[in-house]
Amino acid sequence: MSTLTALARVQAAHHGAAQQICTVRHLHVHDRPLVLVPLTLAGETNAPLAAMVGDRHGNPQVLVVPRPRLREQRFVFVERLANIVLSYVDGFTDDVETLPAKRKDDEPRQRFTDAPQVWVPNPGGVEYLRLMGRMTRFRQTTGDYAVAAGVPQLGKWATWLAEQAEYPDSSVLVAATQALTGFWATGQSSLEDGNLAALMGWIAPPAGMTAEQAAATAEDPILCPPAGPATDPQFDRLVLAPALRDLEEAPSDAVRVRVQERLTLALREQMQPTWDRVWQAIGLLGAQQPGGSVEQRWAADRDRFSDFVAYLRDTGHPQAKRDSAVLGARKLHDMERRLANFEAQRAFDDPLVMGEQRMTGEAFTGIVTWSDPLRTVTLSRRVLRPGIVVETEDPLRLVAGDADLRDPQRPNQKASILRLSESAGKISVSLELQGGTGSGLTAPPGSVPAVGERVTYSRLQVSYMSPGQFPARDQTPWTHGGPPQPYAPATSDAAEDWS
């Protein structure tokens, strides 16, 4: 949270309409996403009850577990879900592109030209997939507790997707509420924003309703069924419990079929509004102009997708229950590096995000009032170090001597602050520039900001993704538990209770 977003909330509350907090969207929005709206049975651990799933708004598949306490029925559900999800994912493994090798001695790399993108209504949907993955990836397709081949395969994919969702720069698994609040601020609190219907009420209220009316309606579970995975306790009592009981007690198949139809219809009614809203959210966000680096981040998602497909085709062991010490450290390192890059990229793409930096004085925007592209200094030899002066009204916290500042328009040029002087509420910043001007003693035209130009300098930078140095699996030092035991499929895992 920041003052900029806080002000946007105030404006939203005042105008009764959500306000943009970004000028461009930073999320990749797929043109063929898969939407999944899951429901679970209260009281049990991630016990599937129903789901609405599909890659076209007008054509959802409705999956229902008529007797959700029966283990076999749960696996039947998972198998059907697996068929849909896996065929969607497989659809992206046909077209490959070849990229030059990263290092000299490597082979050229291949990666898929597209990757899957799964949407769920809220973070609860992400957690659902994580638990679903944990529950199914260790299952075996042979032996006493055999399940269909798709079950453990879905488990590995669900685990992978949920893992990616931990990184804010990844767009392969998206929670609609988070995607929306990343772009709009509402006139309610972030707690209430967790309710997809209330949030959408602020962004796009139904015809004839104000945002506040729409948000209020969204809190009534009868008018507006919750977005799940948990169902409304009233629905459980008045609709679900009687239907489940009638199914147990059905005297004939004909009755059972009728009750099942009734149950399916009722569950469909619970999911349909959420299903529609997720698609509406995708449409609204997709219509926004994407930021300049969205494409690049999606390419990184495609890289990771390609790697995972290769992994599955190779050993394909299910992911461990807990990360080994080395893997844990590597993930932490990745997380920090990706987070920093994501922050920088967003700020470079979007003046509102850069505004956050300027508010805290870590960045400033101003007009160039003086420019000397030919300035040189003598180090061991004479070198070109152009100088400029920028006049800003921003509340600067940077001081003389601060170096390694960059302007998003010239990412290869570093600036350091020589002097600051203040007059009439404005600060003049004298900067020395280095890089991005070629090798000679004259800077090519345009490579140095000219008088009158508007520039922004900050400490943010996009670093190249140098993977950290970590010991290989089998070199894990004893201080970190030694080399991890390779995963060996255990029958006990495959037989694990699901009750």
């Binding site: 949270m1 920041s2 003052t3 900029l4 977003t5 806080a6 002000l7 946007a8 909330r9 105030v10 404006q11 509350a13 005042h14 943009q20 000028t23 049975l41 209260a42 009281g43 049990e44 651990t45 991630n46 638990l131 944990r134 529950m135 006139g187 309610q188 609190s189 972030s190 707690l191 209430e192 809190e219 579970p221 948990a230 169902t231 306790p233 009233q234 459980d236 009592r237 679900l240 419990a241 229950k321 807990r322 979007d350 003046p351 509102l352 505004g355 300027r358 508010m359 921003d394 509340p395 694990e496 209770d497 699901w498 009750s499």
Partner: protein, 363 residues
Amino acid sequence: MENTEQRLSRLRGGGDPEAHNARTIAAMTRNPGCVRRAIMDAAGVDKPAVAAAVGHPTSIGRLSDFAVSRGISFETRVKSEGCAELLRLLREQLGLPVPQAHYEDLGSTGKGETVSGRYLRSKAMLDTAEQGTGTLFDHPLLRLSISGVWAYLEPDLVAFQLGEKFYVIEIKSFPVIDGVADASKVAASVTQSAVYVLALQSLLSEAGRDPGLVSHEVILVCPKDFSNQATATLVDVRKPLAALRRQLSRMDNIAALLHLLPANVTFDPELPAMELAQALTQASARYSPECLAACEMGSFCRAEAKGSTAILGRTVREDLGGVDAVSTALELATGRLQPTKDLLQAAHVLRLAQRMRTEALAR
């Protein structure tokens, strides 16, 4: 002169005070600065009835029947055969040296025993329990004084005595998966356990024993992974315990807060809606969005706080430099309002934010 107890009774519209339970007592610590809540809780006002009467019905604390029955069946399992499963966990998982355990059921005898009678029985049993052996006390009846009125608590828990120490054991039905449980659920049950710890401490002091004998670690028993198997964890409750003590002592001083209310005000749910709503506004509230999940009055107080920055959340309000009203924040930001001295800094930041937003969105 009306005494405090009489005033509290008149506040709730006569009749018996609402019975508190561990959940409602735990919830009292959630917004300790709110006078409205402190008074309503102290008087035992039927908050759900009041909320409904003023047009803001609440669903707080409402659970799915499925969740309830799962909770019961898990608890039954863990406690079956004289808590055999529980004892195994205590020995094997927590490594407690339980030689041979006794099991005492302190549940209601059903023979017309009064609540206070049952409490005395619990007290006697817990007091005279033989030391040195492990004893499990099932269904003890405990009580806590809430602003001078006894609230009886009938936990589904077990108090466990080992050596000198008493432990509170709480059985919950949310899972611990690969060693990790949902943090918000853990936090909620820890606060509830703290209520029991406090009640057990007060029982021991009444019996003339050292309340310090109650361990500040409670034993949380949950289903393991996706199964019906149980797993046990020791959890420290010192922090919620301290918060609870503070709030309860605040409510013991309820007389001081009552003086803030005009003498004719009552929160009788039978009052006409307008009158009741009017009465409520006489006790100052301190709304924040967290109230929605923690207090039955949440929806009413939110509607009352309309136009204030409080409804946007605590951090938002802080980011706005503590400015109270949405309109003030906007007018300061656009420069239409000259800031008073205490708002100078806030106004400066808001104007800057306004400039940045306008600049960025115009381009």
